[in-house]
Structures are given as C-alpha cells and as structure tokens.
C-alpha cells in the first residue's frame, strides 16, 4: 500500500468518529519498500487539495521519509517539490506491519503489502 492511499484512510469501526483520532492511522513495526513509478505532474497537482498535509507530515516523520514542511504557493511549477511529493506518496510502499487507530485501538495488520480491513462483529 502506498502512502497516498494511507493518507485517505480513516478508521471505519462503528462509533469511532473522532476526526482527530480516526486518521491518520498510526504505523507500527513497518517494513517499507521504494518502488520507482512514472511521475505525472497533473495527477499530483490534482490530488494536492485532497491530501491532508498535516497528516502526511506526521506519517512521513514517523517513517523517516523526507517531505517539505509546507506546500509551496505555485506547486505546479515547483519540480523539486513535485518530485519529493511523488517519491513520498507514490513510490513508498508499506509491505508489512500494522496500522493502529488512536481513537478505538483497532489494529489493521498488513501482510504482503495488503492491509486487512476486516472488522469484528462488535465493530460493525
């Protein structure tokens, strides 16, 4: 799973609704892999308003990944920024580990790059 999708994830356990806690899901014991991918600036610029920058900052710091502190005024013209963003969100894959919800404590395990989002009966 790439960081772009992680940035969109929130906990979907029943009654876990505190927006300050249900995302970003906190990584634990993760194994990362960097896989090259073709960069598309239009896509990055389109996604920028959807990305939760504070959450992405928090997550990349946890994973020791470089990311600019703030989004520049004219991101579409800033090649360096776009490359750094691209590497962080589209080339960084989480292969193993888990994601924890600070709101309800649910742990989503990740195996072979695939997070397990199945909920227990009492969480639906």
């Amino acid at each position: 799973m790439r960081l772009i999708t992680h940035n969109m994830l929130k906990c979907h356990v029943k009654n876990c609704t505190d927006p300050d806690k249900q995302f970003p899901l906190r990584f634990k014991d993760v194994q990362l892999e960097q896989i090259d991918a073709e960069r598309n600036n239009e896509f990055l610029v389109r996604m920028l308003p959807r990305i939760d920058w504070p959450a992405l900052s928090k997550t990349t710091k946890e994973l020791d990944i470089t990311l600019p502190e703030t989004v520049p005024g004219n991101p579409e013209d800033d090649e360096e920024f776009l490359q750094a963003l691209h590497t962080a969100i589209l080339e960084t894959h989480i292969k193993q580990g888990s994601m924890l919800c600070d709101g309800c404590g649910h742990e989503y395990k990740i195996t072979n790059g695939i997070p397990n989002m199945l909920l227990a009966e009492h969480e639906i």
């Binding site: 906990c11 389109r46 072979n112 695939i114």
Partner: protein, 231 residues
Amino acid sequence: MSRPEHIAPPELFYNDTEAKKYTSNSRIAAIQAEMTLRAVELLSLGDDGPYYLLDIGCGSGLSGEILDEDGHVWAGMDIAPSMLDIAADKDVEGDLFLQDIGQGMGFRPGTFDGAISISVLQWLCNADKKENKPRYRLQRFFSTLFMSLQRGARAIFQFYPENDLQIEMIMGIAMKCGFTGGLVADYPNSKKARKFYLCLFAGQAAPGQKQDLPKGLGSDEADNGIAYTDS
C-alpha cells in the same frame, strides 16, 4: 447451474483452486476485460487524467490491470484472500485491501474520482447469516461509498441481478444514501449477451450540472436506461 452466491460466501467460494481456475480461464478474463472497459467508458472521466479510482471487488486484478493500462492510480478491495494473492503476484499497481464492503468503506470524504465494480454487487445481496443483514450491509456500503467519492463522480457496477426485486432493493438503498442514476442494459434482447450496469452519480460537480444516464448498447429503440429518479 446454481448462482455462485447461493453456493457459498465469496471468501469461501473463491478459494485457492477456484481463484486459480477463474483467473487462468481466458474466456472469463476476456469477458471481465470487456466489462471493465465498458465500465470505465460509463465513468465518463474527463480528458485530464490520470484519475484516482476505486475498484470494488477487485478480485485477482483482472479489472485492475486495465486501470493500470490506462495509467490511473487506484485502490481496490476484495473479501477473498486467494484472489488478492493472485493480484499481488501479478504486481498490479493498485493498492489492495482485504475488506468486506458490507462493513463500509473507510475513506475520507471526496477521496476518489470514480469507482468501478465488476461482477460483485450480487454477492452483497446474500443473506449468509441473518434475514435482515443484506439491507443493512448495502446501506453501510452505499452510504460510505457516497461520501468517499468526489461530488459529481460516478460509481459503475456491472453485476448479475437475480431478479427485479433485487434491483429494486439495491436502487432503493442507493437512492436513500444520496445517489442518483439508474440501470443501463447493454444488448437487452439477447439473453446471452445482455449485461447490466448500475450507474450511480454522487451528487453534482457544480450546481445545476445534471448528469444524464448513459445509453445502453445494442438497441435501436429509444432507451435502454431505467432511470430511478428524474434528475
């Protein structure tokens, strides 16, 4: 021949053997590919792609590979681990999730530019446990899906409706969750060739920007679309 969803829940039906059989059957693969292309066409995405899409019930990645070919960035989910393992082995580029869509989606509002789903929805109508579960699960699914889509985005579901009652149930619940749209039938007069696509619109991109239900293929008559609302 029994409908697969009457035989077992999907995660049991698509075990390792069945998953392998399904994926390596070239006839099935060709049909899935064709239906995926049609679903993407019905999404009516703009020209300034690539887009961020959701593949609901992505299985072994047959549909995902087509999204890869079009250059889209996508996430997909499926309840059958055996199918997902095949997708992972194929190195599809999308982000895969082991998930039960009847438990709801966990994406922030406005995440996706569109969603497709190939041959999945009829599985959600199954009462694997209690009688009233399917309605609750459908509601959980459609309400969270609605929120996860950009305003004006579409969700296209190719599926195999069991009967009219099932179509009514699905459409009714989707409408309650805020979707507009309807059912598009391709080749409605051919029992063999006919395919159904549920086309749902998640609101409007801008006020007053009504979306028209696409026309079905293979008919010279006026309309193969069954709109359920008059928007």
